[in-house]
C-alpha cells in the first residue's frame, strides 16, 4: 500500500536550514495563536464551551448512524439530493457524474479539506472540467501547483513577495509587487470572472445539523456564498464527522471555531443552506473514507471531534518550525499526524514521532481531542505493526534490560562518564553522535548520586527495601497481574 515512507526529519531539516524564513513562519503562526488566546480570554465560559462541544461530538459518534439518517431525511424533505460515498473514489465519481449529467465544464470551489483528501481537483480536471479554487490562499497555491500547507491558512508558507511573483506570472500583475491590497484587488478581479462563468459551485461543509437538515459553511471571504449562489448547482461535500445533533449545538461550535482558528469572534460569513434555491439543485455528498474505522477505535475515536480549526497547527512548536509541507499529508500538524497513519500507518510512521509530546495541541483544541496522547498511542501501534526501525527496537530492548539491573546500570553510567572525560572532543562530538551535532554533551561528574548517597547517608541505605530482592517482588506482581 505504501508508495514510499514520509521522512519528516529530513523535510524538517530543509525547512529549519532556511533560518530566517523558518523564524518568520514561526512568528506568523504564533501571532495567530496569540490572537486566539485573546479571544478565548474574553469568554469566562471558554472551558465550559470546550466541554459542551466535546460532549456533543461524543454523542454524535455514539449515535452516528441514526443521526446521519435523521439529517438525510430532513435535507431530502427540503429538496436536497443526498449522496453516500464509502471512499474517495466513490465521492469523486459522484461529483463527476453530477457535473457531467448537467453538462458542466467550469466550476468554482471553496475551501474543502475533504476534496483535498479525495484529490477531487485532478480527477475532475482529467475529465476536462475546469476547477477554480476560490479561496484566495487556495487559489494562490493552485496557481503554483502546490498542496496547502495549513488547513485554514493554506498559503501560510508563502510571503507576500512570493504571491507577487505568482500573480505576475499568472495574472500579469506588475513584477515584484508585494502590496497586499494591490494583489488582493488583482485576485478579486480575476476570481469575479470565474464566479460569473462557473456552471456549478462545490463547497465544503463546516457543520451539518441533523435536526434541521442544514449544512453550514463558514468563510471570511464570502467565496462559498458567491460560488453556491451564482451558479444553479451547489454541491456540498462533507465527511460524516461534520454532523452535529441540534441547531442549539451550532452556537457552541460557531463560537469556538473562529476564535480557535484565527482569533476572530466569528467568521465573516456563516451561511446556512437548507434545500436548493428556486430552480437550482443542492447536492450533499456524505463521505466515509476511513472515518468509520477511526470511530471503531477506542484509542482514536475522539479524533473525529475535529472541526478543522487548525489551532493545533498554530500552537505546535514543531509545525511552526518545520512547515506544513514537511508532513507530506493532506492534513499536517498534530491532528494530521493522528489522522494520516489511520489511512496508512507505514507510510506515515514518522509523523507521530514529529512531536515533543509537549501537549500544547491538547490544551488548545476546542473539542478536547487528547492529541498528544493519541500521538503516543500511534507510536505503540506503529511499533506493534512492525514499522519501527530495528535499531530503535533493539536499543529500547537493551535499555530495558540494563535498567532492570541496577548494579550494571551504575557501572555503565560510570564507564560512560569516564569515557566522555578521557576521549578527545573529536571522538565524542561528531556527526554520528546526533546529540552532539547541535549541542555539547552533558557534564561528566566524577560521582553519581547513588555513589554519593552510599558514602554520605550510609545509615539510610540499610532499610529493608534495599535488601529485599526486587526480582521476588516483581514476580509477585506478575502473578497478581495474571491471576
Amino acid at each position: 500500500m505504501s508508495v514510499s515512507t514520509i521522512d519528516h526529519p529530513a523535510a524538517a531539516k530543509q525547512f529549519v536550514a532556511e533560518k530566517e524564513r523558518m523564524q518568520w513562519h514561526d512568528m506568523a503562526l504564533w501571532f495567530v495563536r496569540n490572537k486566539r488566546d485573546r479571544q478565548a480570554e474574553t469568554l469566562p465560559e471558554w472551558e465550559y464551551l470546550r466541554e459542551l462541544a466535546s460532549a456533543a461530538k461524543a454523542h454524535t459518534q455514539a449515535n452516528l448512524a441514526e443521526l446521519l439518517e435523521t439529517f438525510e431525511r430532513h435535507a431530502v424533505a427540503q429538496g436536497a439530493i443526498v449522496h453516500w460515498a464509502v471512499d474517495a473514489a466513490e465521492h469523486n465519481a459522484i461529483v463527476l457524474k453530477i457535473l457531467q449529467d448537467n453538462g458542466v465544464e467550469r466550476i468554482v470551489k471553496s475551501k474543502s479539506m475533504l476534496t483535498e483528501e479525495c484529490h477531487l481537483n485532478p480527477h475532475l480536471e482529467a475529465h476536462g472540467i475546469e476547477v477554480i479554487d476560490s479561496d484566495l490562499g487556495e487559489r494562490i497555491i493552485q496557481m503554483r501547483g502546490e498542496p496547502p500547507s495549513h488547513i485554514v491558512l493554506p498559503a501560510i508558507h508563502l510571503k507576500k513577495e512570493d504571491v507577487g511573483d505568482t500573480f505576475h506570472q499568472h495574472l500579469g500583475t506588475e513584477a515584484h509587487a508585494s502590496d497586499p491590497k494591490y494583489l488582493t484587488e488583482a485576485a478579486r478581479g480575476h476570481l469575479r470572472n470565474k464566479f460569473l462563468s462557473a456552471q456549478a459551485g462545490v463547497t465544503g461543509v463546516n457543520f451539518a445539523v441533523a435536526e434541521t437538515g442544514a449544512v453550514v459553511v463558514c468563510t471570511n471571504e464570502g467565496n462559498a456564498d458567491l460560488g453556491s449562489s451564482l451558479p444553479p448547482i451547489h454541491i456540498a461535500c462533507m465527511g460524516i464527522e461534520k454532523l452535529i445533533p441540534r441547531q442549539a449545538d451550532l452556537g457552541v461550535f460557531l463560537r469556538l471555531l473562529a476564535r480557535s482558528a484565527t482569533g476572530q469572534p466569528i467568521t465573516t460569513y456563516s451561511s446556512h443552506f437548507q434545500g436548493p434555491k428556486p430552480g437550482g439543485q443542492l447536492h450533499i455528498v456524505l463521505v466515509d473514507n476511513g472515518r468509520s474505522k477511526i470511530r471503531d477505535s477506542d484509542d482514536f475515536r475522539e479524533a473525529l471531534n475535529c472541526i478543522r480549526c487548525g489551532a493545533c497547527m498554530n500552537t505546535c512548536p514543531v509545525y511552526r518550525r518545520s512547515g506544513g509541507h514537511s508532513y507530506a499529508a493532506v492534513v499536517p500538524g498534530p491532528i494530521g499526524s493522528v489522522l494520516s497513519p489511520a489511512s496508512d500507518a507505514e507510510r506515515h510512521s514518522s509523523l507521530p514521532f514529529a512531536c515533543s509530546l509537549c501537549g500544547s495541541c491538547t490544551d488548545v483544541c476546542p473539542v478536547k481531542i487528547p492529541l498528544h496522547h493519541q500521538l503516543l498511542a500511534w507510536r505503540q501501534e506503529i511499533a506493534r505493526q512492525g514499522h519501527l526501525p530495528l535499531s530503535k527496537r533493539l536499543a529500547m530492548r537493551g535499555a530495558s534490560m540494563l535498567f532492570a539491573r541496577p548494579r550494571l546500570f551504575a557501572t555503565v553510567g560510570w564507564l560512560g562518564r569516564q569515557t566522555l572525560r578521557i576521549l578527545p572532543r573529536f571522538l565524542t562530538h561528531h556527526r554520528f553522535n546526533t546529540w552532539s551535532v547541535e549541542r555539547e554533551m552533558p557534564p561528566t561528574p566524577k560521582t553519581s548520586f547513588r555513589k554519593w548517597f552510599a558514602k554520605h547517608r550510609a545509615e539510610n541505605v540499610s532499610l529493608p527495601i534495599v535488601s529485599v530482592s526486587a526480582d521476588q517482588r516483581r514476580e509477585s506482581i506478575r502473578t497478581e497481574k495474571s491471576s
Binding site: 512548536p317 515533543s356 500544547s360 511499533a383 561528574p445 539510610n460 491471576s483
Partner: protein, 259 residues
C-alpha cells in the same frame, strides 16, 4: 514521614547535585529520606518510543521498590508524570490496586512541597534574575501551573516556591510556556527542529535579561545547556531545588565534584 527519593536516571548519573539538593532540602524541612538503590529508570524513553512492552518491567519494578514508603518524591515533572499518568495500563487486578496506592503517594517535588510540607519561606538568598521554564509534562500532564492555552486558574507551583526566596527576581518571558524541544528521543530523531526550539527558548530568556533559566526538569535543561555551551550564550541553567537548597548560580557549569 518516610520519603522514598525517586531520582531520574540521568540526574543520578549526570546531575547528582540536583538530587543532593533535593535530599538536603527535604531533610532541612524535617523529612526522613531514603534512596532505594534498586531504582534506575521509570521507563519513559521506551514507552515514548512505542516500546511499551519493554517499559512495563520498569513499572513493575517501580511499584516493588517504592511501595514501602509514606511518600515518593521526585525532582522531575516528566518522570513523575510517567509514573502517575502513564503506568495504569500496565497493571490489572491486585497489581493495579498496589499500583494505585503507590500512584497516590507519588509527588513531583514542587507538588510535595506545596501540598504536604508547605514551607513559609526559604533562607538562602538568590540575588539573580530568573527565567522560569515550565516543563511541558509538569505543566500539561501534572498541572503544576496554568498552561497558556487553558483558561482555568491554577497556581504556578514553582513560581510560588521561588517567590519565597529572598532577593530572587523573576523576569517576564514573551512565550511563558513554549516547549524547549527536548522531548526525549525527539531531541535526536528530530534534531534540527529540537535545536531550533531550544535556541528560541534561550533567546527568549536572554532578551528578558535572565541570568539563569530555572526549571523543574533537568532533562529540558540538559538539552538547553548543550546549546548554551555550544553557542557561548551567557545564561546558566538550574533546577529549582538547587536554588531552594542555596546553591550558587554557576553550580551546573563549574563541573563541581561532589565526591
Amino acid at each position: 514521614m518516610n520519603i522514598g527519593l525517586f531520582v531520574p536516571c540521568y540526574i543520578d548519573q549526570l546531575y547528582p547535585d540536583v538530587a543532593i539538593a533535593t535530599l538536603e532540602l527535604l531533610e532541612q524541612l524535617g523529612a526522613r529520606v531514603e534512596f532505594p538503590t534498586a531504582q534506575t529508570c521509570c521507563g519513559q524513553p521506551m514507552a515514548n518510543s512505542g516500546c511499551a512492552d519493554v517499559a512495563a518491567p520498569m513499572a513493575y519494578r517501580f511499584v516493588d521498590i517504592f511501595e514501602p514508603y509514606d511518600y515518593v518524591v521526585c525532582p522531575s515533572g516528566s518522570c513523575t508524570a510517567m509514573v502517575v499518568k502513564h503506568y495504569e495500563h500496565f497493571f490489572s487486578g491486585a497489581g493495579l490496586e498496589r499500583y494505585r496506592r503507590v500512584q497516590e503517594k507519588t509527588f513531583e517535588l514542587s507538588q510535595f512541597l506545596h501540598q504536604v510540607i508547605r514551607p513559609e519561606r526559604f533562607e538562602h538568598p538568590f540575588p539573580h534574575r530568573v527565567g522560569l521554564h515550565q516543563s511541558c509534562h509538569g505543566l500539561r500532564e501534572l498541572r503544576l501551573g496554568q498552561s497558556s492555552e487553558t483558561m482555568t486558574n491554577c497556581h504556578d507551583l514553582m513560581g510560588d516556591l521561588l517567590a519565597k526566596v529572598p532577593e530572587l527576581e523573576v523576569v517576564p518571558l514573551s512565550r511563558k510556556d513554549e516547549c524547549c524541544g527536548f522531548g526525549g528521543t525527539f531531541a535526536v530523531a528530530e534534531s534540527d527542529v529540537s535545536a531550533a526550539m531550544g535556541r528560541a527558548r534561550i533567546a527568549d530568556h536572554a532578551q528578558a535579561g535572565a541570568d539563569v533559566m530555572v526549571a523543574g526538569d533537568m532533562s529540558c535543561l540538559m538539552h538547553v545547556q548543550g546549546l548554551i555551551k555550544r553557542d557561548g550564550t551567557p545564561l546558566e541553567v538550574m533546577h529549582f531545588a538547587q536554588i531552594l537548597a542555596g546553591r550558587s548560580l554557576q553550580v551546573n557549569s563549574l563541573e563541581k565534584v561532589n565526591g
